[in-house]
Symmetry: D3
Subunit: 247 residues, 6 copies
């Protein structure tokens, strides 16, 4: 089984971190392939960055179709382009936020997602509500710019830990979800420190991808995830045009 | 006051139709400027088309910034790229779905949105729920490809009317919202035929834009719609990079 | 276009303030007519005052029907009698709370309504939920009796500002809605001070009224807002009886 | 214990029917006093009638205060004026809809309310949602004008039974709630015919009133049901003014 | 009328306390019979204790069927086994949580439930949401083990009072619900101290039981509460097998 | 990795079917151990059967603790005893309904669960809402007694297929979830017939169990799933008592 991890931002060190996290949990027969977007922002912080990361994401998904992959993971906690990717692909596509909150839901009745910036907090809170966890999960921002997570001396981990401690104290959180792909390397250690489940989205998504492939399940092609209709695309987007059926 | 209408698909005849509808309701002091996306799909039917229409939409919003506009309307009922556009712009940005369901909410306690294809129905239903109208509005698909609305002989209007009649009979609909920018020219006639309010998103959005500008209100720059952070964008997206602050 | 502003309490200075706010935002072709209720309480603070203000409100709406108005605004943030007025009238009727929260919804994903007394807070919170904004808006009371807003020396503005500051700090509010008609004159100044959109219900409702009239839309007469059935009314209410159909 | 039943419409035969239903279920020590509103509409069908029935309702509640009652029931399924009455009174006040749906909730997980006209259906559906039963209860209209329930030859019962049968067949209803005070005499017979619990609001409200009085519980005077503040009321409403405190 | 109070834990002093509370509010013609479970835990603190208390509860309900009772109350605030008991019995079955929150709902628009341990808080919060009160009621834990309520010197009452005070101050609670059967003797005194309604579940459930019996209403046997199907039960549960129908 | 599948009913052929389904999807390193409850009902149809199946379920979980298992699956679609089991165990515990609806949620935006009897439909609908899928999933009953699924000549499959067809036609279902452990052998075939994802709970739960174990995640022991407190259990339940701490 081959699982493609696509980092929808263009920062290769984050891709590497995600790939490492993915390989650490992958089953013995699973090969992890990692790709970094080649067009778009260096990090995804808010709606604007996210929207402009989607073409780069879809380009990676498309380019690797020939080589073959059995499922793909979008390595951003905002679930950037998740719905578009699901209509595009004929394999399962997983997002970090959906995978992580679902995983936490098996372990805890109430939990808290700790993300980076305030601008991402509401965006993720909207996702959490859409995934049906609005009554069970709170979302907190720890005021860390995404790329500070790549910089050991930035003080980011201290801010993250302080916010986790507030979640445990004030929210009655029974588990913690790390709300950014760049935190993937911290999950195990934080779980040991705090003694509650700490869920990382990259790892969670890889296991969901393996599960769906093993089950012979793929995205429904009926209704909202139906394959894109053949039509003309123009300009810089012309490469994304589904083939037009002819007579 | 200048309101920019951006059609996020590349079909100029739809832009023209939307501009006409906009001008028909614009206040005397309002100038309507219309723009058609120059990169992306010819019509937006589902998540894939929508995601790939966003860069074209943002490019139009950006290019016309120098010329000046006081508010902008995204002329697609899927509210394509609405959140990204709001973070980008320092003027009010309106979407058709949000404007239309809000408008219908002043007129009726229960109403039905009639859109085109099944793949758009669930997408719009998700929007309607996010806008808080899930308990009040039902969404129906009338099985009309978007571009058939541009073709008088396609039978599209018959299908649309049949679905409106089902909404009145089965849903207890007190008003109808037309769920596609391509239906904008039909609202008045359908309102006369059925004797209930029929709300068109283009017209509704223009009036909301005028209202916000008159009120001296613009998108909040605090929290989820904060301006994009300065950072590097790569490849085909490099033109979208917010300027990096220096020193 | 003529828009009738009815103050459902009997305090003429509040009517004057609302009319001034309305005129400040009205389009050039819009005439604002203001009316003060002649029966009912001097201010509306809670359910009791509100219920007993409705006949006075409806009387004003009725009396001015002959003179003609194209839409009406009920100048109380509790949306007093809004549903009854909508069944009565054959023109659009706007409430301040519904207009303001809808307007804020175009500008911010999360916002806070700051109202007067605790007894009004829950009432408005119920409205906010009914309008579908329960997940997005918080309601706060600032412990100001309504009529203190008419008294410059009352300290009311200090209390209001303190509560706005708490909303920004604790709620992550991206915009503020002023939750009382008596605060209408403060919106612009507070917006400048705090740098977030500050929405006033009177102004918002006037623009919604203008929008609906321009769009040729009026309250649905099908279903819950159907015109009152002809029947006999007794006692002090006899003047409100719809005409009985004969033969 | 004395329970006051106030019919907020002016039709004495409906009051009589409600009083009979109340007496049939009252405990041995409970005295039922019935009052008919003396100002307002002959029946309550929709928001307009309901709003204009409130002063008459409050007048009856007020006038009988001297004589004494331990709780009051508002004998209309729209829970007309319920919140205003609760702020007014220092005894428990019950509405039919709230009492009936709560009662049905002890007996069934899913149930259907069958009311009279379409215009009342949405109004009651809104109440049902506010009372937290939106996921469990469906509301249906049987197209019966309220006063037809007073006329044995009107065919009203046939329409009501047809709608109950649809509820059982199509909704999976486990119980039925009769959604109009005028149906109070039919509950027992319909329960025998259909073999599911049939809940009448008048009877349910009387038992809730008895329960609250026995428990020594009354409406909270903290927050949203706090007593009306002393202030001046004008015109036809002047009799409703709470006394102004004097220095 | 005979009402059976079953304490689903095995602590007889709690049964006694509940029976005393029940008798204090029972109508003159109501006989209270009390039973203590003879298999299961000494107190119910969380899901595990609750699940294992159900057979003991059902055994008591079953054994007393021959003697006759007209309704039963399950004397635990977790509504332990409520749904199972309702399918079993052909009389009304009441739970403390459902009865108490419904009762509070007639008295207050916002209220707080104060329970014992954190592990019970989320469990009760889930119940409160299921009963439709999620938007109106908050649940707090006061960190009191259940059996400390039986021990006057434990300091439990101090903790409970501190939590009630936080509810009044921070939640805007208009009423308090005591969230444990072991608190039943404290309601009256706390109501006097704090001047807001304080609802005890035992008392509330007794009155609901009386109400349903008086109304001739019993649990629906259609749908989710239908009587258990005749089938074989094995092992320690064999005594619970409904009789198998024979040819 | 060893995964324990516990069938909470006492029908060994259903256990066998579930174990076969589990082994068919288990990873190469996963050993499936199957256990059949030895006390309780032969099938679980509704709340009564479910509640009385929990001790038998917990007994199997307990007895096999010494032998060791890394996760357990409760092989009933009603998620019988899931919360109690989670407090008991220090390994992940999975239910079929939660696992299946979560799995379907990765594949489809709208889907339908098809279960057996009407009495189970509402029970499962309540679960689906609790798991946050109430807006996305509909539940249908196909009127099949559980044990008919064990009888090839019963016509059960015909009824099931008819209900799936209604779901596709009337609900706009994009995927189907099989709502009974006894349907586990039908998923693959039905998926081929209907061309939409068909999710079986047993298989889904096994993969979730594998995922959680691989991720080093287990049920939170903080808050609602905290380990049972040491206390005395009496009578037939005495074997379930957690050990009392001494000194």
């Amino acid at each position: 089984m081959r699982i493609l991890i696509v980092n929808p931002n263009t920062t290769a060190s984050m891709t590497e971190k995600a790939a490492t996290a993915a390989r650490a949990v992958a089953a013995s027969g699973t090969e992890i392939i990692a790709a970094t977007s080649r067009m778009g922002p260096v990090s995804i912080e808010g709606h604007y960055d996210g929207a402009l990361a989607i073409p780069g994401l879809l380009a990676e998904l498309k380019e690797r179709q020939g080589l073959g992959y059995d499922a793909a993971v979008i390595a951003c906690f905002d679930d950037t382009g998740l719905e578009a990717a699901r209509t595009f692909a004929n394999v399962p596509i997983l997002g970090l936020c959906e995978s992580a909150v679902v995983t936490a839901g098996f372990l805890a009745q109430r939990f808290t997602v700790v993300t980076t910036l305030e601008r991402s907090r509401v965006l993720i809170d909207n996702l959490v509500r859409r995934y049906g966890m609005g009554d069970r999960a709170k979302v907190r921002a720890s005021d860390i710019p995404v790329l500070e997570l790549e910089d050991a001396g930035s003080g980011a981990i201290g801010k993250l830990r302080a916010e986790i401690e507030r979640a445990l104290l004030e929210d009655g959180a029974e588990a913690i979800v790390l709300g950014c792909a760049g935190m993937t390397d911290l999950a195990r250690e934080l779980q040991e420190i705090y003694g509650v489940p700490v869920v990382d989205g990259v790892a969670a998504a890889v296991k969901q991808a393996e599960a769906l492939v093993s089950l012979g399940l793929s995205t429904s092609k009926r209704g909202s995830y139906a394959s894109p209709l053949p039509k003309s695309f123009t300009g810089a987007m012309s490469g994304f045009s589904p083939v037009l059926k002819v007579g």
